[in-house]
């Protein structure tokens, strides 16, 4: 990376610095965005967060968050000074791990106040809700674009092993995102079966689907740009980094405004309907949330459930489908590494 011009280093440093600030802001505000009876991934009485114990736990969590983030920042700056801008990603990792430690410690403080979540489950038996905007026609768009891109390269004799590997890894990411999109339509367990809360939840799921679809198009357009730009493809990739950051920023702001499961959304016409309005959490038992982040419940058929900490949905790691999605996401960056390794072994054997 050291052969790159100084402005490229600057772009990388500013983008990663931005991600670090965004991450800190996210960890700062997110405990306030969950449903009223979930606090640091623990089911609590709905008014708990306003009581003195709840306020005190939040205050302590934020103090720890500031201290740990400052420590991470020091390590980040020292690392960059010592090892160059390449260390920036390591600094980010330190910050994320530190933030999770603060979160986990807060969760341990909330656990003594936990109450059993509701055991009532409801299901609507009639009707089908359209979740994916534009349906499967829109979802197939990125794959078509990728095929067109590959065909263009092939017809113009510009295909190379590096480009092919990049397109294959992009296809892997697309398959994972499409699986997620399908999951949002079919594998999510709704918290509410009716009323305005149900309407909000559906709107939220449609929004998350639209974001996933937009991410598919973004990944495809980025891949096409990188493989089609004739020279200095690596610089093109660096140029797209801030764009990716802006995309993530917009997504986080939109989801934060909507609240967990769309709980902060206006219900529109449904507001007039008598609301069941009693907060009922997310109907997942606390004991199946490992570290408050990973959901592992073999008795729950849902592949996606509402996150306990964060925005959007979390995978149920007790379902094999969840692992297929994870493997696909992990495989995408591994494909280029394996390709390089194969090439290296091939060269050394000769």
């Amino acid at each position: 990376m050291n052969h790159l011009p100084i402005y490229v280093h600057l772009v990388i440093a500013v983008t990663i610095g931005g991600i670090a600030i965004l991450n800190a802001a996210l960890f700062w505000f997110i405990p306030c965005l969950t449903r009223r009876d979930l606090y640091f991934a623990v089911t609590v009485p709905p008014g708990f967060r306003d009581q003195s114990q709840g306020v005190s736990i939040l205050r302590r969590y934020r103090i720890e968050l500031i201290l740990l983030s400052v420590l991470a920042l020091v390590a980040f700056v020292a690392g960059i000074a010592r090892f160059g801008v390449g260390f920036a990603r390591g600094g980010l990792l330190i910050q994320v791990v530190a933030s999770f430690i603060a979160f986990y410690r807060a969760r341990l403080r909330v656990l003594p106040y936990a109450v059993p979540p509701t055991m009532i489950r409801e299901a609507e038996l009639h009707g089908h809700n359209r979740i994916i905007p534009g349906g499967w026609m829109a979802a197939s768009g990125p794959f078509i674009l990728l095929v067109v891109c590959a065909a263009y390269l092939w017809f113009h004799g510009r295909e190379s092993s590096a480009r092919s590997v990049y397109l294959i890894s992009t296809a892997g990411i697309l398959v994972a995102l499409t699986l997620l999109l399908y999951g949002l339509a079919h594998w999510v367990r709704p918290v509410y079966a009716g009323g305005p809360e149900r309407a909000r939840e559906l709107k939220f799921r449609r929004t998350v689907s639209a974001i996933t679809l937009a991410a598919e198009y973004y990944v495809t357009l980025q891949a096409s740009w990188i493989v089609l730009v004739p020279r200095r493809g690596d610089l093109a990739a660096v140029g797209l980094l801030p764009l990716a950051f802006v995309f993530v920023l917009v997504v986080i702001v939109v989801l934060a405004r909507l609240g967990q499961g769309g709980s902060r959304m206006p219900a529109g016409d449904h507001a007039r309907i008598a609301s069941s309005a009693v907060p009922i959490g997310d109907r997942t038992p606390d004991r199946y949330w490992r570290l408050g982040i990973f959901y592992f419940n073999p008795d729950d058929s849902a592949v996606l459930v509402e996150k306990r900490f964060g925005l959007g949905y979390s995978l149920n790691f007790a379902r094999p489908t969840a692992w297929i999605i994870v493997l696909l996401v992990l495989m995408a960056p591994l494909i280029p590494v394996l390709a390089h390794l194969t090439q290296f072994l091939h060269t050394t054997q000769r």
Binding site: R121, L125, D300, S301
Partner: protein, 129 residues
């Protein structure tokens, strides 16, 4: 709307079968209508697939549903079966027990009578007063 209570002593598959039977008896599903697939209903209720499959099998054995692999469950046209000699006793005994439990839980005889009258009205298709 199907509602189950995971904390109840009644097995979950039985609660699902009872809830679905109530919907079918009320005529909310006409013959030929499709029920949600086992997978979808299990996801919505947050229970294992086998639990829902067991409930569907029970209803299929009673003649309410026709199960088709990969196509969910279809509601069947069902003739009213001939009641056996002990059918009324099998109905009355749990009803008497339920009334006794309601009284033991503090419900007034008047409120129980009102609830049963309401149920009887719905059964005969009369509108509520």
């Amino acid at each position: 709307m199907l509602r189950i209570d995971l904390a109840s002593r009644v097995p979950v598959y039985e609660q699902i079968a009872n809830g679905l039977r109530a919907e079918l008896v009320s005529g909310k599903f006409s013959p030929g209508a499709k029920l949600p697939t086992v997978r979808i209903l299990a996801i919505k209720l947050g229970v294992h697939y086998n639990t829902v499959a067991e409930a569907y099998r029970q209803l299929a054995n009673e003649g309410w549903l026709e199960l088709k692999r990969h196509h969910g469950a279809l509601v069947r046209e069902r003739d009213r079966p001939q009641a056996g000699p002990d059918a009324m006793e099998r109905f009355s005994r749990p009803l008497r027990e339920l009334v006794a439990k309601g009284l033991a839980d503090g419900l007034s005889p008047r409120s129980l009578a009102r609830e049963m009258t309401e149920t009887a009205r719905r059964l005969e298709g009369e509108p509520s007063p």
